[in-house]
């Protein structure tokens, strides 16, 4: 009986799955076109899966092995089952392999079941709770029906009722594992995920066999010249089709939720929920079936589900009342990329958030709180604080900094960033100048020709102001010759290095910690031994996760004789200070402040000092009331430790000693 039933079951499942796939693809195709090489992508998919994706999954060894066993077992079992039971190739070898595959899958599913027994809060419930049983049904069912195929049990063993029962179990398994893959349900991730890897909108983020680093973190420019291109994303269909595909790949594992600083602070953003909101919108409907942690809400445990709804062509953010997502959810993001870094499905949350912010800012002018003022300032004064543009160099009036306009050509262009207007950051800049001078670096500054890099404007969705600033900076930089740019601002570092390229500005940009590390390694700096207390290091998001620079700052600290007491969340898992993405400007309230949490992380190490490498981090962390640790930029620590240069020679009235005071 089974010999008759199984092929029917298998091929019907495959057939229904194909129909489901077609329907699913149609959902994705609602999105705007995106030029990705399809065949190349498909060819690259296995490597992207086995190397890049597993690099992320492999951070959790148990889950990684569980997935290898379950998914590997399933894929092998599905193929072999089609051969053995579908096409009737009753070869004992194939049967044996099928037994092995299904047994492996079963073992894996035991681990899945174990995880689901008392699942952490980040995991979604709902249909996901039945997955272990479905996995077991499939693996056990397939195992059982294959036993006769290898002769362990006689063919036609047992009562016909047993056969029917087995067929039902297999049918259950097939429904979840094959039909569910394209029609929805937990296994959707396998189908969407595989295609998402193949057609990812950032193919450059994957490693290459040639040893390419595989990093792509710069936001993609809007084509402001194209009148048909929407200014950002208003409706789900305004995303590109492969972005929609990406959302659909989400496995709701909640790793993003677990690392999101806004979520932890009780601000109304759960990145996992946001992605699911997009999935709801793409298909149309409400979020009532969402079974994970909601977006946090002040006063409530979280925003109740079922109140938000959307359609593919309806607005994501309502002008009034509720649509798919509340604007405050989008403005809570610090663009720290912790979610993207952790996402095993390689989903690009930050891109999506900025896309939606672009629409709110450019089309609706609904940038909240202080943000309109900041954007107006950027338009009027080229700096976010609205300071007189001519005041950019006031901090260095006594330093006689060489202007590149006077020299035309230097080794290093020191990019100041808007910290030049901030009294705290001026100390960092002065320290950096002292260090560059101590090392005899040939450098100059743009002076009043420098403008804000556009980072904040861009992250607040004001692509037009970003591009205006960027193009003018690029035009200024094009007048001069320099080997590279050095900056103490990771945001400028990122924007100049990774985002100006698309607009025609290509530079070699160094974060000051990287540059100082190189100066030290080449013997151009010498330090006194460290005498202070215990030190920890806070990785700035735009240096670490955005640019992969985790080692240079630590190398510098090591060179100073400091043994870094690492925080639990450090390196690629560093927790944001709360200062990125314009978050301090949009200032969405939560239950706690992100920098407070970060200073708690600092204090948990027992460190009396936290070394940072970002003006924004410095400002955020220093703003914490009654903090137990001092906040100092790496440049300041280095400047303090410099071994004094030999005394100057004979007096010369025409020569002035260079000022080297840090304060």
């Amino acid at each position: 009986m089974l010999e008759t039933l199984l092929p029917i079951l298998i091929f019907s499942a495959l057939g229904v799955a194909v129909i489901g796939a077609w329907r699913r693809v149609r959902l994705w195709r609602q999105g705007r076109p995106s030029a990705v090489p399809l065949l190349k992508g498909l060819a690259a998919m296995p490597r992207r899966y086995l190397v890049d994706l597993h690099h992320v999954v492999g951070r959790d060894k148990v889950m990684s092995n569980t997935h290898v066993a379950t998914a590997g077992g399933f894929v092998a079992a599905a193929v072999l089952m089609t051969l053995v039971h579908g096409l009737g190739l009753a070869n004992p070898w194939l049967g044996g392999l099928l037994l092995l595959a299904s047994a492996t899958m079963f073992v894996g599913s035991l681990f899945v079941a174990r995880r689901r027994r008392n699942p952490p809060a980040r995991l979604s419930r709902g249909p996901w709770m039945r997955l272990p049983r479905s996995l077991m049904a499939f693996s056990l069912g397939v195992f059982a029906i294959t036993l006769p195929a290898v002769g362990i049990l006689p063919a036609g063993f047992g009562h016909w009722l047993l056969g029917l029962l087995l067929a039902a179990v297999v049918a259950w398994g097939l429904a979840e594992m094959v039909v569910g893959m394209t029609w929805g349900g937990p296994m959707k991730h396998a189908f969407a995920g595989a295609l998402h890897l193949a057609f990812h909108r950032r193919p450059e983020r994957f490693s290459t066999k040639a040893g390419g680093e595989g990093r792509s973190t710069g936001l993609k420019a809007l084509d402001l010249e194209d009148p048909s291109a929407p200014l950002g994303v208003e409706t789900p269909a305004d995303f590109t089709w492969n972005q929609l595909l990406g959302f659909d790949a989400c496995v709701q594992c909640g790793r993003c939720e677990a690392v999101c600083p806004a979520f932890a602070a009780g601000q109304p953003l759960n990145p996992k929920k946001l992605i699911q909101d997009m999935v709801v919108g793409m298909a149309g409907g409400s979020d009532a079936h969402y079974a994970g942690s909601p977006h946090p809400s002040q006063g409530l445990g979280g925003k109740p589900v079922g109140e938000h709804h959307g359609t593919p062509h309806g607005p994501i953010v309502a002008r009034e009342g509720k649509a798919l997502v509340d604007a405050e959810t989008l403005w809570s993001c610090t663009t720290c990329r912790a979610c993207v870094e952790e996402c095993p499905m390689m989903i690009e949350h930050v891109d999506a958030i900025v896309d939606m912010r672009r629409f709110l800012t450019l089309e609706r002018g609904e940038t909240p709180n202080k943000a309109p003022e900041v954007l107006d300032n950027l338009i009027a004064t080229d700096n976010p604080g609205g300071f007189a543009p001519g005041a950019r160099m006031h901090w260095a009036a006594d330093l006689d900094l060489p202007l590149i306009a006077d020299l035309q050509q230097v080794d290093v262009l020191l990019w100041l960033g808007d910290g030049a207007f901030d009294m705290r950051n001026q100390r960092t800049l002065r320290a950096l100048v002292k260090v560059l001078r101590a090392a005899g670096v040939d450098f100059a500054v743009l002076g009043n020709e420098e403008r804000d890099s556009g980072d904040v404007a861009r992250r607040l969705g004001d692509e037009a102001t970003f591009q205006s600033l960027a193009r003018r900076n690029i035009a200024t930089l094009a007048q001069y010759r320099f080997q590279h740019i050095v900056t103490c601002d990771p945001h400028s570092f990122h924007v100049l290095g990774n985002e100006y390229g698309e607009l025609g500005g290509h530079y070699r940009v160094y974060h000051h910690s990287t540059y100082i590390a190189e100066l030290y390694e080449s013997g151009r700096l010498a330090f006194r031994p460290w005498k202070g207390g215990s030190v920890t290091y806070h990785d700035p998001c735009y240096l670490g996760r955005y640019n992969g620079e985790y080692e240079a700052p630590r190398n510098v600290l090591r060179a100073l004789g400091i043994q870094v007491s690492e925080m639990e969340r450090s390196g690629f898992r560093s927790r944001c200070c709360g200062g990125g993405g314009g978050a301090p400007i949009t200032d969405i309230p939560g239950k706690r402040r992100i920098p407070d949490m970060r200073m708690n992380d600092v204090e948990a190490t027992g460190a009396s000092l936290v070394a940072v490498g970002c003006p924004q981090c410095t400002a955020m962390l220093e703003g914490v009331v009654d903090a137990g640790a001092e906040v100092r930029d790496i440049a300041e620590l280095v400047a303090d430790a410099l071994v004094a240069r030999p005394a100057v020679g004979a007096f010369d009235a025409t020569r002035r000693p260079q000022a080297e005071e840090v304060i």
Partner: protein
């Protein structure tokens, strides 16, 4: 950006100043080596530059000519090329920290003393005597005039060759240039006096000669008065005319403006306004000058607070603010603003200890900052954390010495407890601040309160420490700063008793603290002649009492400095307080409801009587030594301070010697009664090495 007006750089001539804060010219009185700037001098200005000061104009009243004596105030001598290498050290030290430095150059004319050094004949346009220095002088001759004009040019050259950034020609405080300007002093009828142009001529020739010598790339400014406040002197309108006249030459790079003339005791007090003045009392005069000139204007006079400076600069009244005493109190003021530590700035309280010492020919020191002008000795403005063991330090007494000891020990990283018997910190400062016009002295305490809170010092207020309490804390170091009490028991004839019902006399502390109600008809006997007697007189008169203040010294308030006794006198005369001198308090006795004070003339022995209802005696302080002697024998060092080490600013040797038990130090009035500065200096130099 907060304080952005302060941190806006400015061009003076061709020189860029990094911010708007100036340390204006004052006599430092420690360029002691024959007018050559010493190590002490250089470190003093280096500290200001390190602390962020934009421009220092050093060397108040530095002389250009051999016949303008420099020794009285140890001012800088620019009359010789010997000064050039000294300037080079000075310029390098300041430039290294991004600061700029200029020097005031002048000929003092009649405003000096002749009875010393070269026994010079002082000079003045018309030979009129100057009252403040009791200086007679010769009428200047044409030859002298041209010689001195040449001396100015040579002095400016020396400043330039020494690497300084500029010179300020002093035409203020009745120096020679403004002696020519002022019709009050210049009665000449030749080309150097009479008409406006003639009176201006000397200064103009000086300016032209200096500019011709130094060229365009060296700053030349002028310090002028905004109004002499003498009916026969230069008025504000006159000064505007003068400023515009010199400005029109295009050869002056800046004007520094000071309100008030300076050749009487009463006007001199205006020049460096003490705590009785309102903030920036003469800003309007500087603003008036700014209206008529085309170059930056600097104004100093009671600008002590960064917010005040920001407000003045933002308002555009002047271009740069002189915060001279502010930076004597805290040379790191600018750095602290930049560090976001405005609350940590030690603010000048206008006690004028600095300038009053200067007028006595003593080195300029700060009443509340013992490190100022002692930088060369290694006394720190910023106390470094100790690298040695963390110690339990117990300080007894919350007066200036005790507060400084607690602060310094806490900055060193120790665990500090401070006991104060009163409910509030301050000690004698709290009492002093009760007098009219003297309330700002409490600023000293306010700063310590903030610092001790910031440093988490365990304050036990309202707690009188005894031996057992102290030992219970198992201290490593005990610092006693228990002060003393008014010394009324010295002469039994005065009738002092510890029982207030029986005592015939009360102390100035009793009066000022409000412990004893003011009488209606009061005799104050003040043998000390410092602030407390005058303060008590002013306080009592303010409460409506009829007051006579009597001293056996030369005159009441004789020991109060030159910028402060005039403001007391203004108040006391206005309130009809009688001031009598040369009388000893012989005896006090009760008669009916009243008291009879018998006074004895110092010189004739004649007795006279006053019938009053209250007798206040100011006879200084006796140390409170009880606790010291209770602890002395148990302490490891037997309470002894190693004087060699103390005076050499070296660590007390016992700090590094091993042993059991605690170390005991005492400082301030509980050792020997001195003043606020002495107590703070003791505390700093003892505790800096804890």
């Amino acid at each position: 950006m907060a304080f952005d007006a302060i941190f806006q750089p400015i061009e003076i001539g061709k020189l860029t100043i990094r911010n708007r804060v100036v340390s204006t010219a004052h006599a430092e009185v420690h360029a002691t080596d024959g007018g050559m700037t010493t190590e002490r001098y250089v470190r003093y200005y280096e500290e200001k530059a390190k602390g962020g000061c934009g421009l220092s104009i050093c060397g108040g009243s530095s002389v250009v000519s051999i016949d303008s004596p420099q020794g009285w105030w140890s001012s800088v001598n620019l009359a010789t090329d010997r000064i050039i290498p000294h300037f080079q050290n000075l310029a390098d030290a300041v430039h290294k920290h991004g600061g700029k430095i200029m020097i005031q150059i002048t000929h003092m004319g009649r405003r000096s003393r002749w009875d010393g050094y070269d026994w010079s004949t002082l000079l003045s346009p018309s030979g009129i005597r100057e009252p403040v220095h009791r200086s007679t002088c010769k009428t200047i001759e044409e030859e002298d005039i041209w010689r001195i004009i040449g001396d100015f040019a040579q002095a400016a050259r020396r400043a330039k060759e020494g690497g300084l950034d500029g010179v300020e020609l002093s035409a203020v405080h009745q120096h020679l240039i403004d002696q020519f300007w002022s019709p009050r002093v210049n009665k000449r009828e030749d080309q150097w006096g009479g008409s406006f142009e003639n009176r201006m001529r000397f200064g103009m020739e000086v300016l032209k000669a200096v500019r011709a010598e130094v060229g365009d790339d060296f700053v030349v400014g002028m310090r002028i008065c905004g109004d002499e406040f003498h009916p026969d002197g230069l008025s504000h309108e006159d000064m505007k005319q003068i400023a515009a006249y010199y400005d029109a030459t295009g050869q002056v790079d800046f004007f520094g403006v000071i309100g008030s003339g300076c050749d009487t005791h009463n006007t001199l007090a205006n020049v460096i306004p003490n705590m009785s003045y309102p903030p920036e009392p003469f800003l309007h005069l500087a603003a008036g000058i700014k209206e008529v000139v085309s170059v930056p204007v600097i104004h100093a006079q009671n600008i002590k607070d960064p917010n005040q400076a920001q407000r003045i600069l933002e308002g555009g009244y002047v271009d740069l603010v002189g915060m001279t005493r502010a930076q004597i109190a805290d040379p790191h003021m600018i750095a602290k603003i930049k560090m976001g530590q405005v609350d940590q700035i030690k603010q000048c309280v206008g006690a004028n200890y600095c300038i009053d010492r200067q007028y006595q020919g003593l080195d300029v020191l700060c009443i509340q900052n013992a490190a100022t002008s002692r930088e060369y000795m290694g006394l720190p403005h910023i106390i470094e954390k100790s690298e040695g063991p963390k110690r339990k330090v117990v300080v007894v007494g919350g007066g200036p010495g005790g507060m400084e000891a607690a602060r310094v020990a806490a900055e060193r990283g120790h665990d500090v407890t401070l006991f104060e018997a009163a409910e509030a910190l301050g000690g004698q400062i709290t009492i002093a601040a009760q007098a009219p016009q003297r309330d700002q002295i409490a600023g000293i305490t306010r700063w310590y309160q903030l610092e001790l809170a910031r440093l988490n010092v365990d304050l036990r207020l309202g707690t009188r420490a005894d031996e057992a309490t102290l030992l219970d804390l198992r201290p490593d170091i005990v610092v006693l700063a228990t002060g003393g009490h008014p010394f009324l028991e010295q002469d039994p004839q005065w009738g002092y008793s510890e029982n207030p019902e029986e005592s015939l006399v009360v102390s100035t502390w009793d009066i000022l603290s409000g412990k004893v109600a003011p009488g209606k008809n009061v005799l104050i006997y003040d043998t000390i002649c410092e602030f407390s007697g005058l303060s008590a007189a002013d306080y009592l008169a303010d409460k409506g009492a009829k007051v006579e203040i009597v001293t056996d010294d030369i005159k009441p308030g004789a020991a109060v400095g030159g910028t402060t006794f005039p403001t007391y006198y203004r108040s006391l005369y206005e309130k009809e307080v009688i001031m009598s001198s040369d009388l000893l308090l012989h005896k006090v006795y009760r008669e009916g409801d009243g008291l009879v004070a018998v006074l004895e003339n110092e010189y004739t022995g004649a007795l006279e009587e006053r019938v009053v209802d209250q007798v206040v005696v100011e006879n200084g302080v006796r140390p409170d030594e009880g606790l010291y002697y209770a602890l002395k024998a148990q302490s490891r060092n037997k309470g002894q301070v190693d004087l060699e080490a103390l005076y050499a600013i070296q660590p007390q040797p016992c700090l590094s010697e091993a042993g059991d038990g605690f170390l005991l130090f005492r400082l301030g009035d509980c050792t020997a009664p001195r003043n606020t500065h002495a107590a703070i200096y003791d505390a700093l130099r003892i505790c800096k090495d804890f």
